[in-house]
Each structure stands twice: as C-alpha cells, then as structure tokens.
C-alpha cells in the first residue's frame, strides 16, 4: 500500500512525458492538441496526489477543458480554408 501512490505518480509522470513528446513531434495537428489536453488532464490527477485539490479542479476545468476546446476551435476554423489538410 505504501508503494501505491509513488508507483501511480511515476506512471502518471511517464504518461505526461510521452504525451508531451507526441504533442511536440507528432505529425497530425489534432492528435497533438489531444495530447496536450492529455498532459493537462494527467497533471490534474498528479496535483490531486500532491494534496492540491483546488489546483487539480482548476487544471481539469480550465487547463484541459477550455484550452483544448479553444485550440480545436481555431484549428477547425483554420483548416476549413486550408485546402491541403494537415500541416506538417
């Protein structure tokens, strides 16, 4: 039981790093935005483990919810005029 939280946070940290690399280096823009949202979401779980429920709520509602939506919204608007689809 005593190793459960450290092991969980290790897993979460690893997930965040992988998702961040995908967000920076992945080819598809939509997957990059989703990966950035995943980084925020996992970060909010990690904040909860680090005994900061206020910050966890803010990060989940604002960081991973609103930011991801704003990015997708602008991506949709911009892609409609972009005839060749995905940006490299």
């Amino acid at each position: 039981m005593i190793y459960l939280l450290p092991a969980l946070s290790g897993l979460l940290c690893f997930t965040m790093l992988v998702a961040a690399v995908v967000a920076i280096g992945g080819r598809s823009m939509s997957i990059a935005i989703l990966a950035a949202g995943l980084v925020s979401l996992v970060a909010s779980v990690l904040f909860l483990i680090l005994a900061s429920p206020d910050v966890a709520m803010t990060e989940a509602a604002i960081g991973s919810g609103l930011t991801t939506f704003l990015l997708f919204f602008v991506l949709g608007r911009v892609r409609a005029g972009e005839h060749d689809g995905e940006q490299p």
Partner: protein, 118 residues
C-alpha cells in the same frame, strides 16, 4: 514524490521550449507553450508539497489547532491557481492573433511572416 513531480515539470518545460523553438507551425508553437505552462505549474506545486501532510483545508480530518503540523504550504497553490487562469487568457489571445494572421496570408508557417525583418 516531490522530486519526481519536479523532474517531470522541468522536463515538460524543456520539451515545451524545444517545441516552441523548432516548430514552424503557429498552432504547434501555441501547443508547446501550453505544455511548458503545465510544467511550470507542476514545479511550483511540487515545491509546496511535504511528505505525509494533507491539503490545506480545515475539516473533520484536520482541526484548526493542529493545522500547522498537518497541512502543506498553501501559498504555491494560490499562486498556481492564478497562473492557470492567466495561462488560458494568454492562450486565447495567441489563438485570436493566429486566426487574424491566417486570415491575412492563408498560412500558419512562421516563415511566411517576414514583414518585420530588416
């Protein structure tokens, strides 16, 4: 656990900085900035964490009298609360400008915006 979270936060800042410096797509640069933002918040929260203590809320588990020995530092949490909200404001601003720039030149590539180069 604080060290682990802090190391992850620093790595996220570095990944975000690398992405913002090397990518040429404006939207991708904004994504990189949001990742670096999350990393900074994680580092600040990790600084406030103390092993074996609980969240700074006084309730049935933590009474007002023994709060000093039971709770973690609340100041970094208040700071990060501010930082997250300002972060989304800045992101929205960057996205609005990106939309306007795209409208002007129909391109998201930073190399097409050389008007201010001497």
């Amino acid at each position: 656990m604080a060290h682990l979270a802090m190391a992850t936060g620093f790595l996220l800042i570095l990944i975000g900085a690398w992405g913002a410096l090397t990518n040429r797509n404006l939207l991708r640069m904004i994504v990189a900035f949001t990742i670096a933002d999350t990393g900074v918040n994680l580092v600040i929260i990790a600084v406030g964490y103390m092993r074996g203590r609980t969240a700074p809320i006084i309730d049935g588990a933590v009474s007002a009298a023994d709060a000093v020995t039971r709770i973690i530092d609340p100041v970094p949490q208040a700071l990060v609360l501010t930082a997250i909200v300002i972060g989304v404001g800045v992101t929205a601003l960057m996205l609005a400008y990106t939309y306007r720039l795209f409208e002007k030149k129909r391109s998201l590539d930073i190399r097409d915006y050389t008007d201010l180069k001497g």
